[in-house]
Amino acid sequence: MKIIVAIKQVPERDAQVRINAAGKWIEEVDLQYALNESDAYALEEALQLKEKHGGEVTVVSAGPERVGQTIREALAKGADRAIYVASNDLGSRDALGVARLLAAAIQPENPDLILTGLQSEDLGLGQTGVILAEVLGLPHASLILHVEKTETGLTVKRELEEGWFQTIELPTPAVLTIQSGGNKLRYATLMGIKRAKIKEVRQVTASDLGVDVPPVVLMEGVTMPHKQKSTQMLGGSPKEAAAALVEKLKFEVRVL
């Protein structure tokens, strides 16, 4: 199976973010970066498919130079080669623009399967994989936990709400967006990193790919969430207080 995994490098989870001077994005200077979590699960799913059915896994990632670190990590975990789309202005593109860029890089490869993460940890749009499928004219399914190859294509397990799942059959080539948690992730090994040194990383630019579409969605600004503290004391007997709490959690806070 020829599999492509689109991966994104995002700020490390729990990073202390600050809004930048322009107010349109976060200050990147002191941040540590890591592989987007659901992309790690997409990569893991791809590697497991390769281990079972043979073939090749190629990772594609767009962004500035620092993305190289994440690409190497993916190669160390077992991807066979990589395509790096050099782009210093990824932030000024909208989801359509990014998807068009990735599609241009991926198309000549003619893969059997394209996997992306469900959504990114920074923007959280959840759109790139789906738009990618549309631009490439391929069938797609999202929120996928598990992929199985069949005679006719793929059978995939999709996550719904409240513990429900959906099984979908689709032909290949196809695009799937992968939800976190479907597999146990493998750790990066020394052997993996050493082998990664000799794996191919092909670099292309947006102009190479002939993609230069102005964004249709513009980011107006970014703000920190407004933190508010308000305390309500619930009185009465423990039974009464508990009942009152459940009421509030159900109908006011709406977490139950």
Binding site: E12, R13, D14, Q16, A34, A76, K184, L185, R186, Y187, A188, T189, L190, M191, G192, I193, K194
Partner: protein
Amino acid sequence: MIAILPTLAEPQSFSLSEKLLFAALAMASVYSFWNLFGRILNKILQSKKDSSFRLFPITKRIWDFFWEVLCQAKVVRERPLPGLAHAFVFWAFCAFALVTLNHCAVAFGIGFLNPAGEFARLYFYVAAAFAFACAAGILGLFVRRFLVRPKWLGEQLSYQSGVIALLIFVLMATYLAAFFVTDAGPDARILWWVHTLTLLTFLPLIPHTKHLHLVLSPATVFLSRGGFAQIPPLAGDEDFGLVAGADLTQLVSLQAYSCVECGRCTEHCPAANTGKLLNPKEIILGVRAYLNNLGPASDQPLLGKYNSQEAVFQCTTCGACEFQCPVGIEHVPILVGLRRGAVNTGAWEDEHGGKLFLALERGSNALGLSPAERDKFIEKQALPIFDGTQEYCLWLGCMGGYDPKGREIVTAFARVMKFLGTSYGVLRKEKCTGDPVRRLGNDLLFQQLAEANLETLAQNKVKKIVTICPHCVRTIQEDWKEYGAPPQVEHHSEFMARYVDKLPKQPSEEKVVFHDPCYLGRYRNVYDEPRKVAALAGDLVEAPRNKERSFCCGAGGGLAFLGEEDGERVSHKRAAELVATGAQTIAAACPFCNTMFRDALAATGESAPQLLDIAQLTARGLPE
């Protein structure tokens, strides 16, 4: 009445046929010995070279050789009665060197120790005293092995050992008997031949049995790695640890062939003592079996037929095995080497291990928590930030920064330092020192953590570190050396011991038992300093297994981060021992020991002694 004649009988005038017979037998014996020994020596020499081995400084090696081999110090100290018996056997062997040489020379009429002469007579008497002690010793050891049957010598009786014991006894008996016969008589000749045949039978048996240690162990002790539980650096791009036979180094092979199967390692192993698969003796013998059957160039995995991955990952790296070994086997680097081979190649699949590695790949600490938590702690306790002007950097570590009990220890120690007027600060950012991943064999992750931390320390111009965790101390001081030059680091017990005169002595009759942490005691040789500090708070009592023989709490080797253990819990076993001393307080000096015992004592219930770090004990006595 049998008269003890003043001299040893030496048979006179051997016939030509006797001489030829002796020569032929001797040559056959030597040939047979060398045939097998030579092959073993080859296997050792054909193994990979140890790239980090340095012969110099040589003083310690010479001292260890003198003290441990010649004086048999460790042999006797750790198992006194059998150890003494063995020492006599060994010393008798040494004393008999000239006797044996002379014995052979006598056959050809060139005996150089004339029994009538002063020197020879004295020498033979001294040798006789040793022979007597040896015979008594070997008899005692025989009784121990075959009648008493201690568990640690193994389940199966070793008939091989019985045969060797018999041969040694006969050698001594024939020697002593020669004092009761005359030179000229036929008895002298018979004794001579019995002694000779016994000798010539013994020689080729040496490489066939664990008695190979006779030849190898003096070299093994002399050629130690040069530090306790010293993990060697990986050598080059293709080295991932001990994956297959071809990765075994000369030191590992030498050590594998030196094992005397005494079982002292297993006797003190926390895993072996709590029903787990791991048995340090079997690990070493497994490597030996691998070398015997597959050789030093094989590409078959070491964790396969002769050793199991499961056993190897039950090790807490407490070092009791390495510490006990009388022949110089260094178990910890071998165990970590086997783990490296599994982890660096991705062959180890463990749910908790994987989680630990992923937590440290992405984050800064082994507990998988947000670094903001550590920042909040520092802010809440108003700990000063290190800015290059203070004398000490207080390294919090993962437990000190994120664990509730670890934080209490830090807070207590901060109070002590404030009382003493110490100038210190904590770093804004710390990453885990990498201790658990280092001991689990993940060199990729360890390198990343070590290099990131070394850079942080250099940027902040840190010169001296003090920390509450012996694991941090060891990793910073020793393991980080592979990737840079770590600053000076000490444990808070060493720090507080220096100021013990300034710290208030608490009037209390409370009995306090101090538990020696593995990484402070055996790893760092620090036993007295924490006791000086604990003594400020009450009357010290000792656990039965204390100081170098301290029994592990079970957390080391990355095991605190892995899942449920098999068999009895190591922490519970040790906690029970500490509780049984009758102490009201258990004093700890390691946040991991503290965590393990807190859990174990919870199972003990209401009557459990209180558990406090030595910093907390000291802070208790400070004015509010």
